[in-house]
Subunit: 202 residues, 2 copies
Amino acid sequence: MGKVITGGTMSLDGFIAGPGESGFDLLFQWYGNGDVEIVGASPNVPPLRLSRASADLLKDEWGNAGALVVGRHLYDMTNAWGGMHPMGIPVVVLTHRVPEERPNFVFVDEGIEAAVAKAKEIAGDKDVVVNGGQMARQALEAGLIDEIGVELVPVLLGGGTSLFADLGIAPVQFEGPIRVVEGTGVTHLRYRVHSSTDGTSA
Amino acid sequence: MGKVITGGTMSLDGFIAGPGESGFDLLFQWYGNGDVEIVGASPNVPPLRLSRASADLLKDEWGNAGALVVGRHLYDMTNAWGGMHPMGIPVVVLTHRVPEERPNFVFVDEGIEAAVAKAKEIAGDKDVVVNGGQMARQALEAGLIDEIGVELVPVLLGGGTSLFADLGIAPVQFEGPIRVVEGTGVTHLRYRVHSSTDGTSA
């Protein structure tokens, strides 16, 4: 059985998006500041150019991932990544309105528990990755997350959307970091969610 | 000439205080979760009990510190730490109302630049430490900070006061981390402020 993991790229002052959806250029500089090219499976998304350390970590984690859970908004906004997510794995889309069937995507309209359960079924022994933002918050609140990853970027955005914004079960303590990898312009931190989180905090 | 440094203990979602000034017990668990006792110079503040890694870092940084800059609110709230700050160094207090003279404390009412200048004069070759929160924000905005330290704690507080809250010069990019030390329940990260910060962002 794989793990269920989530996380996001975060500024040093705790924001995954700056004021008015700004700051993505600064947050995601590490996607393009290295020499190691990673060509994703999406026809629409250009290759990443990562530092060696970041690339090794991403290849490792992408290699272990068996399914991804995203919200309908991201699915629409990216135009379904042109038909295939960069990670090259099936995507479970949590939505209120199930569209027509489409290869590489599965639509679930029964809430985050059902979406993660479907992703686990697809992933088998591999990990399920839950996209950051609202999906991550809902999954954490429901006690579905095993590990959190934070890609910490040395920039202050001064405001915006916090990691796990509007979390209904705070405070939540994690164990770790169980892994720290220093890339160029980013520190990759991995934490384990205590198994008691859903029991004591909900 | 020493450096001017600042920072704070921060939750994984970016808060140096939780909602309604909560969460300090969780943020500062690392002050008491180890075996290495550090007895401070204040008669009012109990010893810290740190992990070996955190203790080694603190001793190193405290040993290099020559003066501290704090705001009047903290000075009043702590009752001047009983007459001596735990770090055992002179404290420059930025205030609107200069009180009577007092050993180990210097009062400045001409703004953050004057307070840091006075602290530098006192510190000589040693470092000046600017307390977190409002002092840190003002000093960073004024281009006075050389290094930032973040003690990152694996807890989500879900809201509260952000690191460098209400920063008027965001976005600000730092260099690093130039040092990463893994304590127990805390990751100590140190960043260098680009010398161009005050020039390009103010």
